[in-house]
Amino acid sequence: MDFELTEEQAAWRAEIRAFLDRHLTPELRAELATQAFARSPLVEQFQKAQAAEGWWGVNWPREYGGLEKTAVEELILTDELEYAGAPPLPLTVTSLGPMIIRFGTEANKREWLPRITRGEATFALGYSEPDAGTDLANLRTRAELDGDEWVIDGQKIWNSEAHLATHEWLAVRTDPDAPRHKGISVIIVPIDSPGITVNPLWTWGDVRTNLVFFEDVRVPRGNLIGEVNQGWSYIVGALALERSALGSTGSLQRLFDDLVELCRCTVVDGRALAERPEVQLRLAELDVDLEIAHLLSRRTASLLDAGAIPAKEASMQKVFTTELRTKLADWGMQLLDAHGQLHGDDDDAPLAGRLERTYRMAPFLRFGGGTNEVMRTIVAERGYGLPRGA
């Protein structure tokens, strides 16, 4: 048992902070404050620098160009990036690359891993369809072999990175006659392939996602990842890794710290907010919750490092942290009373609107990446052996 960073881990954190001091420039900060998740020359420059550090392979084995960092070290990196408000590591690095390493053919590894570590390839997650959301195994997008090419037809929804990524990490049905989970494969599809139409869907959280159509899209046979009809386990494995990422706490801690400071210096009705007993109790409760969230995320990471598959723990962390995100934004807005109504577009908005924006973005994290209802079922069934429901 050890609740402090080791010397090595502390050095790693110092290295990350030094990098952020150099590369997270005021210009980039200003841009990120107004348009999260956008791609721009400044963001690309920052990501190139990240990749040059080896971070776009941070948790991968050295033989594939990775830094072979532990899950705890990866968590330190994720938390530091989030706390600083820097562009995060892409899911391609944290969730999909590891699946290629675990399940991919030698040819897959040679083709994709170096391009990912160099920052040249990022994948959009092509999973959900209008009738296959939580019930992902209901997906119907088809891929059929025609000579040496896969021919793909279908549509994907909530395809959030399709307008930013270079490729689709596409879940397709390759055997329509097999049982639902047994006829699914993963194929990598260049996003600029003929026959792909990307239509934007704008969300309440101001984040763009997409509805993407595939019509007679042809890709080389070798773009199949791993084995045909074995894709379900790759998808489930990547989702499990994604869950830990959704349960990260760096941005929450930053928002909380800034909220506390704001309460210290905001005077309403003759008193600083921070002097009010109800404000103190609300902030204290949020601090307790945040501490639990940190502990849950560190436990998940340390279990991964010990070689375990922390399905229960990662699910618990995902539920708790995503619901805490709503609570923090909700309570923060309440503490600010009428001022909590100000939208980020208003010059007087507290914390430049980060509370209200977080409130609008929070729903997506609760139902995305496996709904919290499904996550709770995992905790009960896998954690405590409860009988499976119908």
Partner: protein, 384 residues
Amino acid sequence: MDPQLSEDERLLTDSARRSFERYCPITLVRALREPGTSGHSPELWSTMAAQGWLGLGLPEAHGGAGSLVDLGLVAEEAGRALVPTTFRSTVQAAQLVALLGTAAQQGDLLARVAAGSLLATVAELEPQALHDPRYLRTVATPSGDGWVLSGAKAFVANAGTADLMLVVARVADGAAGPVLGVFCVPAGADGLSVSPHATFAHDRQARVVLDHVHVTAEAALGGPLGPGAATAAALADARARWVALLCAEMAGGAQKVLELTADYVTGRVQFGRPIGSFQAVQHHVADMATRADGARLATHQALWRLAHGRPAAREVAVAKAWTGEAYKAITVMAHQLHGGMGYVRENDLHLWSEHAKAAELSLGARDHHLFAVAAELGLSPATL
């Protein structure tokens, strides 16, 4: 004792629901949120006036008819339909006039409100004075046979469209705090400037700067002797009504979101069955329903007590503390149960989510009203 609606009340509710469905469809709600529009629909307004809804809860002598409960029932349907806030702000101003205005002021202003020819609002809050009038800085100074108003107000609803703004200002310092007055300031008065806030619900609130705005002696609500203790009491009584009516809006919105969600989970099929057949989903819907029912009951009780002149401080505070949280929590769970389908802007759900949060943060958030409940328990009054 009967918390249910009477037959007449049910008829009013049904008629308001049908009218709003017809004259305030969600397409209109969306259109009026767009930048560059006034946020107000004259057609909807004249329909409401023709139905007599703008005179509800106002004295019969001045064109009014119907009780505060009736007004609350229409406000509930307005919340369900997301009727633009010109209704709320005009009703708030009218209630204040009814409590504080002279007979002549009531005769003039309330008759016009009831007829649908006057849009109004109240300018009370300031950036650093949200609940305690001791910190209000806007002042009214006697000048000739009138007053001069100077100061800066915030969160003034519909300041850009209202024909009349009721400005709360300090006229003198008293031992127990400032002596307040309420002044009628017409739209476009010299020295009045309005700059819009960008708000969470896109609901037309603004900063208002008063730079030596001259008004006549008759502009002081309550007449020359208006400013004083009567003003503070009238403001407190008016605020109780504003809160109860806002709760009615929230209760109506909460019920609508509950119904939308029940419909969605009944129709959405995953794993070969409607997701509404999963217990986890059913339990969420049941909790939402309890929150919504509690909101309506607490709101109806508060409205009824106010309408019958009974003490209502506790019931009003209970209603706001419960209903603000209930409506918001219902929208949060509605997003959870709608998933991505309810999260795109094309879907209407977020319109209620924004209404819920804005209403929760208006007229005192939850903690403010919990302290009021504590004070009613005889616990040491909060020094807010």
